[in-house]
Symmetry: C2
Subunit: 364 residues, 2 copies
DNA sequence: GTGAAAGCGCTAACAA
DNA sequence: TTGTTAGCGCTTTCAC
């Protein structure tokens, strides 16, 4: 069977001719707008079926200006957190008959910029983004200024007044850290894959990715509450999946004053930490305690199972999509910032801090 | 700041007027085709920048017939297997400047059909699909007959003569099962999330999703080789994430003649099995051995770590995308079926079969 | 209720 | 090299 060089696709005109009506009339019934008599409608539909007519969405979008799809830019679709959030978005979108075009930024601003450019060029009706870096948001500000609705997922940007859905990161970090301090830990590390742009030391309020800032604020608050000095020394950025990060993790675990407890920013980081802890011959929870954000599947099956901060990830995606879709439908209330609550699932990865003599107590 | 009701976007004509050239000339430099003198080009580019011109991809696609994007339909983006394969596809696509539109079918044929319809309507240049069900492939056959290149990922369809990339599932299942039989196991179960359409008993050759069929063939071959009778009794379909599947899993593990070893079809099923095994108070590998397809992250950190079939998942995605992109570029060699090799990573989840008296030996 | 005609923003023949 | 002129397939006035 040979492939014809070009697909001679059936158009509205073809259907109109077949049904012996005008192009406009055929278009009306095929496009589902305007008023058409029942008889004519039936005739057109029959002709369409006979000819196997398929609408050309592109042409439709071009005239209407609407594409019926929204663009979603996430940091890393391989992270179960995003995978689940995306399902929340997809489900909500499907309910409204809206398609989702998904692009991965790999947490790189350039990729993010490019993705947004492409999506805009494809005339998406709206955009959902998890900003990769808080430093460079000019491209997002531009969208916010435009007529294309933008919504932020998981990471708020204070200077961007758009619909945003996040979780109460500060509270979550606070509560998680308290579990650690109450177990007697003093050397507690917060380990995140996020990159820090510029210097940090005490300038936590200048971190403008909300997720990162809020968590650090919660972490520090709990530490200070427990009278821990200079807790900010124990915040470790950039623990993503790189050689350097891996090495840094090992260095951290093998240093003389290694932390006795760690709070991980996501399940991917936590898994890396878990592996590194093992490789260093350390035992959870005897030598070191671990709590992580995100109740990933595997956290319940390790030995010991990991205590986690359970975020309503699916709801996060669902809500942000609903917010965006409401905008698409013309709602123009002032932008909303929804903060979803988290809970902590206590499992077995937190133990008492080893005492100064080096002897350890088990617990939990 | 008020939002204007409509975006008066800058068009080629606007740029042409500003640069004092014809629309065609402006279009040539903006679209990057045809020949234009350097001076004129600069003038147009400058005008475009001054006006902040953004091309309308939709309009472009409509005239060229090409959209510069490919559609990808996967079963479940939350499955790390697909997430990784999708990254392979995305990376390959990016290298060719092609965009990826991703849709989740949720392993449902209706959703798959719908996704394909939408993608075609959006004029994607090509399609990559992991067919949800082998029974209903009329919609895929239709694409195959059309001018839109189609490529299959991970699951081959014998009656569909299109580019396909899979792994050597039969060989993988054969080798994995042999590890089990050699450890003395006789009651070995194969557990898969796949649904069986129609009856099964001995009719394995009628299963037309290659992945499922090939694995079963390999599994059965190894069982027969070991002299195990009626091994097909131990094949369990439909172990996805449903109430029923969960119950069935527990029933299987608690039955009098429960298997002493299990081969799982993917890491999601394996994790569920792992949890169920624990809940039933069984111990791996003492009471039951476990091997799974896909070297998911977590399989190395459980106690014990799980022996896995390591599939080249990223390469799977990358290859299929490369094949498809080659087609887009006009290559019309006969369709190719690439089968990638797998390896087995032996960890600690396989033990000797308990002897008939019920006493167990540990091993591995 | 129906039809004729004018575009949407772009590319692609064809002339000049 | 540049400009002119048609469309792509659809929606949308605006008459009839």
């Amino acid at each position: 069977m040979k492939r014809p060089p070009k697909a001679p696709s059936i158009t509205v005109s073809d259907v109109a001719r077949e049904a012996k009506v005008s192009k406009a009339t055929a278009a009306r019934v095929l496009g589902g707008y305007g008023r058409v008599s029942q008889e004519v409608r039936d005739a057109v539909l029959e002709a369409a079926k006979a000819l196997d007519y398929r609408p050309n969405e592109l042409a439709r979008s071009m005239t209407t200006g609407r594409s019926g799809s929204i663009g979603v830019v996430v940091g890393d679709i391989e992270n179960p957190f995003f995978a689940l959030a995306v399902r929340g978005i997809s489900d909500a979108a499907r309910l409204s008959g809206i398609n989702v075009i998904l692009v991965n930024s790999g947490e790189e601003v350039e990729a993010e910029k490019n993705a947004i450019r492409v999506l805009m060029a494809k005339q998406v009706d709206g955009l959902i983004v998890t900003p990769a870096q808080s430093g460079e948001i000019a491209h997002l500000e531009e969208i916010a200024r435009s007529t294309c609705p933008l919504a932020l997922l998981d990471r708020a940007l204070p200077e961007l007044d758009v619909d945003t859905v996040t979780v109460d990161d500060r509270d979550a970090a606070l509560n998680a850290t308290r579990i650690l301090t109450r177990a007697g830990h003093r050397r507690i590390a917060y380990v995140t894959a996020a990159l820090l742009s510029g210097d940090f030391r005490g300038a936590e309020s200048h971190i403008n990715t909300s997720t990162v800032r809020e968590r650090i604020l919660g972490f520090l608050a709990a530490c200070r509450e427990a009278g821990i000095e200079a807790p900010e020394r124990n915040i470790h950025f950039g623990s993503g999946r790189s050689e350097g990060a891996h090495a840094a993790m090992h260095a951290l675990l093998q240093s003389r004053d290694r932390p006795t407890a760690i709070l991980a920013s996501d399940s991917v980081v936590a898994l890396d930490l878990f592996k590194a802890i093992r490789q260093c011959g350390l035992n959870i929870p005897r030598d070191i305690s671990l709590i992580t954000f995100h109740d990933a599947d595997w956290t319940g099956v390790t030995t010991p199972p990991i205590t986690v901060i359970d975020q309503p990830v699916y709801a996060l995606g669902k809500s942000v999509a609903e917010l965006l879709i409401r905008r698409l439908k013309g709602d123009d209330r002032p932008s909303e910032r929804i903060v979803l609550p988290t809970t902590i699932i206590e499992r077995m990865s937190v133990g008492h801090a080893p005492d100064e003599s080096g002897q350890a107590f088990e617990s939990n």
